[in-house]
């Protein structure tokens, strides 16, 4: 049953229109006769803020020439760190994968042998992948890591050409660490 044929005590149930079908445009209120000066002053007051801002120094950052300052604890792209002697820190313990709220880290561990020693101790990560498309950069993996292997660096420009490239594998993550990250880690205390 559509709106039109609904009955309310005999009369079609319709909202009352604002103006009757035959009424014209209402007359202009008294004393407000159109004048050019009034229009210009209204225009000027309207643009006052805009003109004010126009001549004050721009706050826009001309990206990419200059970038917004980032805090030392900014959580951006991940890195897998190494010890001074070049051995990888990551021991493939999968605690980061367990801590990750979105489950975007895949770790497959394997056993170190004397010939193929990747990390100190018995265990290392044969496969370590982070799906950057799903990562929410919360930093839980960095907190969970018992050996401070996975850390979040400062970069946030992570665009790429194909979805597969967003699966960061070990060699991408093992790239050398930007210097200022080391400062942040030292401030966090020994691990």
């Amino acid at each position: 049953m559509s709106d039109e044929d609904r009955e309310v005590d005999g009369k079609p149930d319709q909202p009352t229109p604002l103006r009757g079908p035959d009424e014209g445009v209402p007359p202009h209120p008294e004393g407000k006769r159109p004048s050019v000066a009034a229009d210009i002053t209204a225009l000027a007051t309207g643009l006052k803020t805009t003109l004010g801002e126009f001549f004050s120094p721009a706050v826009t950052l001309e990206y990419p020439e200059d970038k917004s300052p980032r805090s030392e604890r900014y959580r951006g792209r991940h890195y897998l760190r190494r010890y001074e002697n070049g051995l990888e820190r990551c021991i493939g313990c999968e605690l980061c994968a367990a801590a990750c709220p979105v489950g975007c880290i895949l770790v497959i561990a394997a056993e170190n042998t004397d010939e193929n020693r990747v990390s100190p101790g018995e265990r290392y990560a044969k496969t370590y992948e982070i799906n950057m498309l799903r990562c929410i950069f919360c930093g839980y993996c960095e907190d969970a890591c018992p050996v401070q292997a996975i850390v979040l660096g400062p970069e946030y420009e992570l665009s790429d050409t194909s979805r597969e490239k967003f699966i960061y594998t070990k060699e991408k993550l093992l790239e050398p660490l930007p210097p200022d990250v080391q400062a942040r880690l030292d401030s966090k205390g020994p691990k």
Partner: protein, 624 residues
């Protein structure tokens, strides 16, 4: 009023419970759902109360009592949640952890480690120990299957007690004294036991871990599928733990009637045979000498055409590793569609079979007073977990006689024996029957036998009639019997359909048979992995491995058990689907859509299977 004398009523944390006399406080509390923390206690071993984790308060006893070792007494009042107990539990866990290495990140037990769980639940937040931990050697290869980390060991004695009470091999022992005590074999020689896999399961920490499963996965990443071990006819219940669609390990899934919670290494470490770690070839047809890859329908059509040409002179061999459903279809394909009686599942020997072979259920071995193992070690090699059952029976007073000849077996059993069991492999079945008959006349009690057949579904193959002379349910095919495999070369067979379901129970062709295969004009091979038979095959139909399919298997004692899909292999047709396609290509018109539907038909054709709804009861031919 006089309560039945063997029942005892006691109170645990304010709730009263009545349990039979001699029950331990630990079990009485468990009956109320109160879990008292333990490490060294194990349901299948004598209590030793060495870890002292389970100490609880018992009224009128000044000291805290070990719940795992003190039997209940009438009117006993037990408290497990008092401050004294809680404070002590923190203390003992702190003691356990002072020399325990902080290995959780690299330890395989992480995530399923009782020490880890109980430290979270009962333990102190932090440890006040600030000295050097005692160091021992780590990652000691005890054998090619087990690695031992002596720093993680909390000396709960479970593994040494296992080798003494359960397997009887007494290989592991405590060495040195006090805090320097370690576990090890004699002179650090490699362990020889075939039950080492169980050590890794009963060890409450990561001291004993499996080398094959080393660092494969964390417990929370595993997909767990209940299934049955493909190793032998014992039918031990297992759990397939897989990750990324690859089998990580087999774990035991306790079935008190069959395996009592244990697995043998032969079965537990057999999963690499069923690993689909690379492509096993697509269906193919031999065209001018070479196997050309084709699609399934083409291969099925070719196979059907060739079989139809051979008609009743076709022969079919099915592996005792196949499921009941597949064997049923295989048997229908030959007897109904092809009208050929030539079926077999055995290798060389031609030994008879009948329902009496499952007279003695495995669990009943404990209730016998004399058990004759005809063939000694040979029977144990055929079903290794049987040894654990026999050793348990021996410890409870059953006389087990491991003999080689009938005469010795007869002499060993005294006339006044009441319940006698005879165990033998299929090869020695005839001797077993003669021994059984002689015993029946000598002994006043009952004599039952259990024949250890070959293959996880050897019994199923016999029940479903994959035999030339017997139809499903041992129906006698008078006059229409076929020829057993041994006679096929001379029986004018022109086509051979080999269904090699499991790499562990292969066709195993002899030299003579290989020559005969070359002479045949049709050889169809349906197998999981590329095998030597592929060169002789005209049609190759790749099928699935046992962890990739649903179905039921019948263990040697006639217990029908379900296996489930742990690994999915969608790109490979299920075996019963291939068999149905071949049959339907010849106009059989089978309507099956799932393996359950096949089982429904199977149960109609073989009534005894109807009684044993899968995974519960045994096929009792008595009520046929």
């Amino acid at each position: 009023m006089a309560v039945a004398t063997d029942q005892v009523t006691l109170q645990v944390d304010g709730v009263s419970v009545t349990v039979p006399k001699g029950t331990l406080i630990l079990d009485a509390a468990k009956k109320l759902g109160i879990d008292i923390p333990i490490f060294c206690s194990h349901p299948k071993m004598e209590p030793v109360a060495v870890c002292r984790m389970c100490l609880i308060e018992v009224e009128k006893m000044p000291k805290l009592q070990p719940a795992c070792a003190i039997p209940v007494a009438e009117g006993m009042v037990v408290r497990t949640l008092t401050d004294k107990v809680k404070q002590y539990q923190q203390g003992v866990l702190e003691f356990l952890l002072i020399n325990h290495p902080l290995d959780c990140p690299i330890c395989d037990k992480g995530g399923e480690c009782p020490l880890q769980d109980q430290t979270f639940q009962y333990g102190p937040g932090a440890s006040r120990y600030d000295f050097q931990k005692a160091h021992f050697d780590k990652a000691v290869p005890l054998s090619d299957k087990i690695v031992l980390d002596r720093e993680r060991c909390i000396l709960c004695w479970r593994c040494t007690r296992f080798t003494e009470e359960i397997s009887g091999e007494r290989e592991l022992a405590l060495i040195k004294r006090g805090v320097h005590t370690i576990i090890g074999t004699f002179n650090d020689e490699p362990a020889q036991s075939v039950y080492q896999g169980n050590w890794t399961e009963i060890c409450p920490v990561g001291a004993l871990t499996s080398r094959q499963y080393r660092f494969i996965s964390r417990p929370w990443d595993l997909d767990r599928t209940p299934s049955v071990c493909p190793g032998c006819a014992m039918g031990c219940n297992i759990q397939i733990d897989s990750r990324h669609n690859k089998i990580g390990r087999f774990q035991s899934r306790e079935n008190l009637e069959v395996d009592d919670g244990w697995l043998c290494d032969q079965g537990r470490y057999s999963f690499p045979y069923f690993q689909r770690d690379q492509e096993f070839g697509s269906p193919s047809i031999r065209r001018d000498g070479q196997l050309a890859a084709v699609s399934y329908p083409e291969a099925v059509a070719e196979a059907a055409a060739r079989l139809q040409r051979a008609g009743s002179s076709a022969a079919g061999w099915a592996s005792p590793g196949a499921t009941n459903e597949e064997l049923f279809l295989f048997q229908r394909l030959f007897r109904e569609t092809l009208k050929s009686p030539h079926l077999d599942h055995r290798q060389q020997g031609i030994h008879e079979t009948d329902p009496e072979d499952i007279g003695l259920p495995i669990a009943d071995i404990e209730r016998c007073d004399h058990v004759v193992v005809l063939g000694g070690q040979e029977v144990i090699d055929a079903a290794p977990v049987l040894h654990l059952r026999l050793h348990k029976s021996q410890r409870h007073g059953v006389a087990v006689h491991r003999v080689d000849e009938v005469k010795a077996g007869l002499a060993a059993v005294p006339a006044e024996a009441t319940v006698v069991g005879v165990l033998a492999t299929a090869a020695r079945r005839a001797d077993a029957i003669t021994l059984q008959n002689q015993l029946v006349s000598k002994v006043k009690g009952s004599v039952r036998r259990l024949i250890v057949v070959r293959g996880p579904n050897g019994r199923g193959a016999k029940d479903l009639g994959i035999l030339p002379h017997l139809g499903p349910g041992y129906a006698v095919l008078n006059g229409r019997a076929g020829r057993p495999r041994a006679e096929w070369p001379k029986a004018g067979i022109r086509a051979l359909y080999i269904y090699d379901a499991s790499p562990l129970q292969e066709f195993g062709a002899t030299e003579a048979e290989l020559d005969w295969l070359r002479s045949l004009d049709t050889v169809i091979v349906q197998r999981f992995k590329p095998s030597v038979l592929d060169e002789y095959a005209h049609v190759v139909l790749p099928g699935r491995a046992f962890p990739e399919k649903d179905g039921t298997m019948t263990s040697m004692e006639g217990r029908v058990q379900r296996i489930a899909t742990g690994i999915d292999a969608a790109h490979v047709w299920d075996d019963w689907r291939i068999l149905q396609a071949v049959a339907n290509a010849m106009g059989a018109g089978w309507p099956y859509r799932t393996s359950e539907s096949i089982f429904a038909d199977l149960a109609k054709a073989v009534p005894a299977y109807a009684a044993a709804a899968p995974a519960q009861g045994r096929v009792l031919w008595g009520e046929r």
